[in-house]
């Protein structure tokens, strides 16, 4: 049996090993990130298989729950952990092509970011959730400003401001719960929720929700997103979109379904999701900066996931998880492509990237991921949108789904414009190196494989019902 704790232990160990390796050879230090992420991917695959027989609880430091610290991995958590480590792995391959100085710190923060995000997903303990969230955030702050230019610092400072407010709320929420229940174990809290003062419970819930919304990019706590994504190195933006945000949204899902089970609150979550989608899509439509456009689009996609959680039926949750997978993968491809464009042109203006996608090695994965984000079939993105819309109508949210579909038309419009610019015939394509296209190709192939044959994912998502009922 493989312990889920390895998912945290390995990257933590390798992260602290990195400076030591870095003393010997800076060249090898760069390879620590793919190594850590790759190992994590392997481990999470094993963990995923283990969880099929039931949630895996990994008890740390000798105390049994609810007293001790516990890792709690259900199939869905393992799936998201796999997603996080896999995308981190592929993006880190791309990072090898575009190393940022100082490499040691960059690699270390990268591994820590991945580790924190994984921890947020697999922890079974509220305070650990906070700790991992802080690790993720602080690593993110560092990475967001790694370009060491004005935009990078500005983006990071906004992220820091909003992020620390969020952290505070989370801490307050945890404090309130601990004050009343004297426990931090999620299942334990869930079981003893009725003992809590209902008003305090609401305050705690809202605090946690607001705090985690920052990472999950829910309106109006997603204000940092455009600037931070724009300022960060493109590979880091990819990780933000596909790793950090996914960890945050999964944490929110656990807060809602596993801990509190407030089904009354869900329609407000639907509204929030709708607002996030609409504002994200509409802003992306008028945005002329490539990376900001992708950032707004990322917000909108996160909104779709929130919407899926808010609708709260099995179908909707399946859609939301599909959406998480497809968005993480497709957006990683797009941000890596953006990194390539930025590298080739030195700017992120939309007009400057004309014709750069005409090389099929870049163009094909780019097209596949755009089509996936548009929600077209044969690609993974189809299932997410289809299930969520269907579930929304089934649950009677007619007007909201209509608005979402309107926003999707807007999305199609700006992504088609993006493709139009990228495939513009007036400019010649530039050369590409394997470091550019191999990671994109890997992810695009994943999009297509699971788009055509989604059954493995559906197998995992068959556990959604128990998650919905308060399981893990």
């Amino acid at each position: 049996m493989i312990h889920p704790v390895l998912l945290i232990a390995i990257p933590l160990f390798l992260a602290f090993l990195t400076p030591i390796v870095g003393i010997g050879s800076k060249k090898y230090a760069r390879y620590m990130a793919p190594l850590a992420a790759g190992l994590n991917t392997l481990v999470s695959i094993f963990v995923l298989f283990e969880t099929f027989n039931g949630p895996v609880f990994d008890i740390l430091s000798g105390f049994s729950p609810p007293l001790g610290i516990v890792l709690m991995v259900g199939p869905l958590g393992a799936l998201i952990a796999l997603l996080i480590s896999f995308t981190s792995f592929v993006v880190s391959l791309n990072c090898l092509k575009y190393p940022k100085e100082p490499v040691v710190k960059y690699t270390m923060l990268y591994i820590l970011l991945m580790m924190g995000a994984t921890g947020m997903v697999i922890t079974g303990d509220l305070f650990n959730l906070f700790v991992f969230m802080e690790i993720t955030s602080i690593a993110s702050y560092g990475l967001a400003s790694f370009n060491r230019d004005k935009r990078g610092y500005l983006g990071a400072i906004k992220y820091v401001v909003v992020g620390s407010i969020g952290s505070t709320f989370v801490l307050v929420g945890i404090g309130l719960i601990y004050a009343q229940l004297r426990t931090l174990n999620m299942l334990d809290i869930s079981a003893r929720l009725s003992q809590m003062n209902s008003f305090t419970a609401i305050v705690a819930f809202v605090s946690l929700f607001v705090g985690l919304s920052v990472e999950a990019e829910i309106f109006p706590l997603n204000t940092w997103v455009p600037d931070a994504y724009r300022g960060a190195p493109s590979q880091i933006s990819a990780v933000f979109a596909s790793v950090a945000a996914k960890a945050g949204i999964f944490a929110i899902a656990r807060i809602i379904f596993t801990i509190f089970g407030y089904s009354n609150y869900l329609w407000f979550v639907v509204i929030l999701g709708m607002l996030t989608v609409i504002i994200g899509e509409f802003s992306a439509y008028v945005e002329r900066d490539l990376k900001k456009m992708l950032a707004y689009s990322s917000i909108a996609q996160m909104g779709m996931i929130v919407l899926g959680f808010g609708i709260g039926t099995v179908l909707a949750l399946q859609g939301a998880f599909f959406q998480m997978l497809s968005h993480a993968i497709a957006k990683a491809v797009l941000f890596m492509a953006a990194g390539y464009f930025v590298y080739r042109t030195g700017t992120t203006k939309m007009e400057s990237i004309r014709g750069l996608g005409r090389n099929p090695l870049i163009g094909i994965p780019l097209t596949i991921s755009v089509l996936s984000i548009m929600g077209l079939p044969l690609f993974l993105g189809f299932y997410g949108k289809f299930y969520i819309v269907l579930a929304g109508i089934d649950a009677g949210y007619y007007a909201i789904i209509a608005l979402i579909l309107l926003a999707s038309v807007v999305e199609v419009a700006y992504y088609a414009r993006f493709l139009k610019i990228v495939f513009d015939k007036s400019a010649e394509p530039k050369e590409v190196t394997p470091g550019d296209y191999v990671p994109m190709m890997i992810l695009a192939v994943v999009l297509v494989i699971f788009g055509v044959y989604p059954y493995p994912i559906l197998d995992v998502l068959s556990h959604v019902a128990s998650f919905l009922a308060g399981g893990v």
Partner: protein, 604 residues
């Protein structure tokens, strides 16, 4: 035939072909043609082999079926896709592998849409088709592709919304379960489905993507206009006569035996035909002219479906078939002209017929079909729709259709004269006739048009089986003649009389010999100018344009552009939420907490 064969031949095979031809590089179209020929032959052989299969995928009950209706539509889409691919072997010069594989994806998508008997597969294949078209259009122009995709998305999302509503009421995706949708829900479902499918057939006012998309690679557009736009017609047929059924439609009230939704559809169709025709007359771009013509012709199909009598529906189906053939030939003709001259503006062409006579003959016959000249089957389908409208005594729909068909003469002569007749420009003097396989691609489609013109009974057999399958009365016909309640015609008599008259004329004509002179030996007040081009094709219908000018200033496209600009302005305002100021963001966070909390307090 079992499910595996059906699925394998119509969907898996084209997809495999797509991957194979992509890996081939140059000359990928040859392989793709072979792959598209298999479903065509298979379809033809499997006529009457109706069968239905149900299976479970994604945990959902799904179903495929071969029935007279989708057999009929598969036949026309396969025909057009085969000939478009055959034509593209030479006409597509750059990145042929991408073209061929996307075409095959579109073929798979179209076949899937047609075979589907459940909404999930309908939607999946609909979208596969949609994105392959998007990427194919993208090859020519990104902006066209964008406009196409926006409308494609509108179409898809309307259909998706409709599917959602059906699912909400029935909990199933099967067509057979649609009966469970309560009658009042059809108030919303009907317009949703009509808009969703109507976009694909470029129904007014959702047509503006068509002139853009139809300006891309012409051999693909032959398939897009000929084959894929028929899927919209198919969808509307299904909506009316399979999903909603006449009983539900009649629940909205009837107007002289025609249901109110049907009457509305017929009106929309008639206006589409009329306005499409009037716009086609003034186009100088050959591709856009054909695009508007396509819009207009599909208007007739809408009218037929709307009127809903067996004659009208049969006529609409027949017209869809005819349109698939003749519009594919016309677009292939346009492709041929562009292939040989590189020019698509009518005013810059002329006299191509003297150098490409076989191409001209093919285009001429298709134009006969387009204009409804009785020597091709194009007449019979129009006749059926007219007769249906006349026998119902509709005084708005009928004149619009009739005058639109007069307008069709105007723009079809524009093509004939501007492109093929008149003066051959000096720069086009050295062009050659097309290679045989490209001509074959066109003549394959000509043959059925001619055969069904003499013996419409052959196709009426198919149409009748569709009508009977969907519970309507059959048509009245024999092999050569057909009847409505108000009139009828015998095509054999017509052809014999035509041949006799032609022989008389021929006899008179052959009595004297004639001497052939050069095209520059022309009476121009005694002038013989060889240095200026005197092809009178520029701004051909100028007087008519002057008369129409006050109306032409209203443009749907401009309306949409204005709407888009208005929305974009609104979006800019919305985007201002992201002020870029961390202090604002902190305030948002605080406000968010308060609001979330208050709502939580109220709710929980």
């Amino acid at each position: 035939m079992d499910l595996q064969t059906l699925f394998g031949i119509f969907i898996v095979l084209p997809v495999l072909g797509a991957f194979l031809s992509y890996s081939l590089g140059k000359r990928a179209s040859i392989v793709a043609t072979a792959f598209s020929a298999v479903p065509l032959i298979f379809t033809y052989l499997r006529m009457g082999d109706w069968s239905q299969y149900t299976f479970t995928a994604l945990g959902i009950n799904m179903s495929f079926e071969l029935n007279p209706l989708n057999w009929f539509f598969i036949l026309m889409t396969s025909l057009t896709s085969f000939s478009a691919l055959l034509f593209s072997i030479s006409s597509v010069k750059e990145r042929q592998n991408g073209f061929a594989s996307l075409m095959l994806f579109a073929v798979a998508g179209a076949n899937g849409v047609l075979l589907a008997r459940d909404f999930l597969s309908l939607f999946v294949f609909w979208e596969i088709m949609s994105w392959s078209i998007f990427l194919l259009v993208m090859r020519a122009s990104g902006e066209s592709a964008r406009i196409y995709m926006i409308f494609g998305a509108i179409s898809a999302y309307f259909i998706l919304f409709g599917i959602g509503i059906v699912y909400h009421y029935t909990g199933s995706f099967l067509y057979s379960a649609v009966g469970g949708v309560p009658a009042y829900a059809w108030k919303y479902l009907l317009p949703i489905f009509i808009v969703g499918f109507g976009v694909k057939m470029a129904m007014m006012p959702l047509h503006i993507w068509a002139p853009h998309a139809y300006s891309s690679e012409q051999s693909f557009v032959a398939y897009l206009s000929g084959g894929l736009s028929k899927l919209g017609a198919y969808g509307i047929f299904l909506t009316f006569y399979s999903f909603a059924t006449v009983g539900v439609l009649a629940g909205f009230g009837t107007f002289r035996t025609v249901t109110i939704p049907g009457y509305a559809l017929a009106l929309v169709g008639a206006f589409t035909a009329f306005i499409g025709t009037m716009l086609a007359i003034f186009q100088d771009d050959l591709r856009k002219l054909l695009a508007y013509s396509s819009i207009a012709q599909l208007g007739y199909v809408l009218v037929g479906f709307g009127l809903g009598t067996p004659l009208a529906v049969g006529g609409a189906l027949f017209h869809a078939f005819n349109h698939a053939l003749f519009k594919a030939v016309l677009f292939l003709g346009s492709a041929a002209v562009i292939y040989r001259t590189g020019e698509y503006r009518i005013s810059e062409l002329g006299g191509i017929a003297y150098r490409m006579p076989f191409t001209f003959m093919a285009v001429l016959i298709s134009i006969f079909a387009l204009a409804g000249i009785p020597i091709t089957s194009g007449f019979i389908s129009k006749w059926m729709i007219y007769e249906a409208a006349i026998s119902l005594k509709f005084v708005i729909v009928t004149p619009l259709m009739l005058i639109a068909s007069v307008g069709a003469f105007l723009y079809s002569f524009r093509i004939l004269y501007g492109v093929f007749l008149g003066q051959l420009h000096r720069r086009h003097e050295h062009i050659k006739e097309l290679p045989p396989h490209m001509l074959a691609a066109m003549y394959i489609l000509i043959v059925p048009m001619m055969v069904f013109a003499v013996a419409p009974g052959l196709i009426f057999d198919w149409i009748n089986s569709i009508l009977v399958y969907y519970g309507m009365n059959g048509l009245t016909y024999t092999t050569f003649s057909y009847q409505s309640s108000v009139g009828g015609a015998n095509m054999l008599v017509f052809f014999v009389a035509f041949m006799a008259a032609f022989m008389v004329a021929m006899g008179l004509f052959m009595m004297k010999k004639a001497r052939t002179v050069d095209q520059y030996d022309n009476y121009l007040g005694g002038e013989v100018r060889t240095d200026v081009e005197l092809h009178a094709a520029h701004n051909f219908y100028k007087p008519l344009r002057e008369v129409w000018e006050p109306l032409l200033k209203y443009s749907t496209e401009r309306f949409y552009t204005r709407v888009a600009r208005f929305f974009a302005g609104g979006f800019e305002e919305i985007k201002k939420v992201y002020t870029g100021n961390p202090q604002d963001y902190a305030a948002y966070a605080a406000m968010a907490f308060i609001v979330f909390f208050l709502i939580g307090w109220w709710l929980l």
